[in-house]
Symmetry: C2
């Protein structure tokens, strides 16, 4: 696992793990909650502060920084051949309210760390390298999430994104102007490849003791609402045999949903919400609604799960189901995935293929360019939480794999 | 079923079904909701109005009316032998907010109808007969419920009941003074027997097509709180095998609870409330609390159910259970029950034994005197609801059985 890179023959740039950790601590102060977490919603004064910090670091390194009209920040480091398209990495510096210090931030800072490693080792890539900070990955203030990368990839119209308003009535355009990050023209580079490092936000790597997740794609997602009707009645005077208890019917369905999830691995199926009516101790429940979240890396898998789910609901009297939202699965580029795998092996780190359960900017980029992602373990699988944590060593391992992947892609694509 | 009483030899007083129905409609105007229901909380101006109406009707009939210090109203009609203790019937004129026009009211008005029938047929009983309106059966404004009969039976101290305050800070004593129904001294009669007519408030009689329920007692009750701990995690990134889903664990327990209820008939076991945390579609639930209502006519039955319930919870990892309230079952007097049964048969009405699932003033009276109750069907089992309904015929049947029971008890106890 810890085979020293010094034993290899080629001179290899190394990530400065101490500096990377210092950068994580530095950015965590912008919007720091005092409990180890960060609340740094997109396009707020805290977001401006971390952007200013990031731009200053990039300029120190000799990058050119571009800001596009949706506020995406592109820091580009020159390669040997200016005619080649850039190889891009990055993620996002905004957080959830009461979020952690790694989600998104690590991907941006690891990009910075990779540029630093190249600079200090004197290595110059063929392609220019660009580190990007996407606007509004989280979607906590403005909906939908990931609209910075969405606009860049052409999935979301710029005008529509600029017109979105937060709960206070402030539009995205106004918020960009207020912090001085509305760029004048689009950054029109279509990258040769895009690689994003991110924390897993799930328990798989930690549970297995695996250092690196080679992300093969982003799961597709379907949301369903289910309603189960019963008859509200007096808990004392209604014999068991005379009941139409909506909650016991819901319980049968919840267990059926769990069984369908288990039968369709790597898919997952969750009843995250149950609303019971009237939800009073001494009244037999008359109505239950369930909110269901379904994910699978493949369309076929999603279809099979949906068929099974609909059968389970149909088998339950007086129940109905409605699909209210769907997102297609995204498959990353096999060559990019292989580059990540080889980089992990090259670093002497254990790795495994994994599908991302959560959405990421990389899912938008995959429509534009060959794309892959790198995951590192999340302690207890926690994310969107002040207790979110990955160790300095895990973060540095991820950055090291990112750096090697960028170099590997630079070689392959040149 | 409809054998005419006229074919019998003995002259038998008959309930005036039309007048009874008119009285139900008359009382329903005091606090009428406009949707067929009644909101007449205890000791409010609406309650004063219906009490005034009731007292006037009783005085018209030639009754003596006593008011005790908790506001219970006793309307006594003389018998042949003033030395005998009274035979008592009645119920309550207060309702739930948004309640119906039958719950409680029927029992009082049927008592009045019985006295009317005796008067118009010229029959005089041996015992004096008393029709009572108990204060605060419902407990919606002042807690606990049924404190009028509780004070009468010695289960609740008068001073404590008078000191209870509503949400506006008004005490029971103040409320009694405000409507002029605080009596100066206790009505000290211990009745020879107590019989109460009430709507079933459950679906059994209607479902079976049975006219009369011979109530054998009031079920005992135990309330439990259960907490099931899991691990809150991301619905997208937590594989099924890595989850500790508190809601699926709760679903298994809900089904176990239902099975225990079914295995312990005539007991009933209900999960009426489930609180899910965080109750968000895309988060695997980390914690569920359940509120459970258990009832059974016998202590042994309750004990067996509680043992089974505790075993079910113990079999569920990371779950705990707490009993938060218990009420003993009440068994009514076998001779009084038999008198009701014979009265129903005498009226040519179908009847069946039934345990009351809800609490009633009769449960307090059972500690003081031989007691029984009579149930008539409730449409759809509904009560505490504006749609509560029993037909004029069903109400008159119940009153007829009450009248015959009073006469039967008068003969037996003389």
């Amino acid at each position: 696992m810890d085979q020293p890179l010094a034993s290899r023959t080629a001179p290899t740039p190394r990530i400065d793990a101490v500096q990377l950790n210092a950068d994580i601590e530095a950015t965590a102060r912008f919007g720091g909650t005092g409990n180890g977490g960060v609340s740094r919603l997109t396009l707020t004064p805290e977001d401006k502060a971390v952007r200013d910090w990031f731009v200053a670091r990039c300029i120190e390194l000799g990058c050119r920084v571009d800001v596009d009209p949706i506020g995406n920040l592109f820091a580009s480091y020159p390669g040997r051949n200016a005619a080649l398209p850039v190889i891009m990495t990055g993620s996002h510096l905004d957080t959830q309210p009461g979020g952690g210090r790694y989600d998104g931030v690590l991907g941006v800072l690891a990009g910075l760390a990779a540029l630093r490693a190249l600079k200090s080792s004197g290595i110059v890539t063929e392609h220019p390298l660009t580190v990007v900070n996407w606007t509004n990955e989280e979607g906590s203030r403005f909906s939908p999430a990931m609209f910075g990368s969405g606009v860049h990839a052409g999935a979301i119209a710029l005008d529509e994104a600029l017109a979105v308003r937060d709960r206070a009535g402030i539009s995205v355009g106004e918020a960009l102007d207020a912090i001085g990050y509305r760029g004048s023209q689009a950054y029109r580079q279509t990258p040769a490849a895009y690689v994003e490092l991110h924390i897993e936000q799930g328990p798989v790597l930690e549970a297995e003791g695996t250092a690196i997740g080679t992300v093969t794609g982003v799961q597709g997602l379907r949301w369903f609402d289910v309603v189960i009707e019963g008859t509200e009645s007096h808990a004392g005077s209604t014999p068991m045999a005379n009941r139409r208890d909506a909650l016991t019917a819901a319980a049968r369905l919840i267990l059926a949903v769990e069984a369908i999830g288990r039968a369709h691995a790597p898919g997952v199926l969750t009843v995250g919400h149950a609303g019971i009516s009237p939800n009073s101790r001494n009244v037999v429940p008359g109505r239950v609604n369930l909110q269901i979240d379904m994910r699978h890396p493949s369309q076929t898998g999603l279809d099979a799960m949906e068929t099974a789910l609909r059968q389970a609901v149909a088998g339950q009297a007086d129940s109905r189901i409605e699909r209210i939202w769907a997102k297609q699965p995204v498959a990353f580029d096999p060559a990019c995935i292989e580059a990540v795998r080889q980089a992990a092996v090259g670093c002497g780190l254990s790795c495994r293929d994994i599908a991302s359960g959560a959405g990421h900017d990389a899912a938008h980029l995959a429509a534009l360019a060959p794309t892959a992602m790198i995951f590192i373990p999340s302690r207890d699988g926690l994310s969107h939480n002040e207790r979110e944590y990955s160790s300095p060593r895990q973060c540095a391992d991820g950055a090291e794999v990112l750096l090697r992947t960028l170099l590997e892609l630079d070689r392959r694509l040149a």
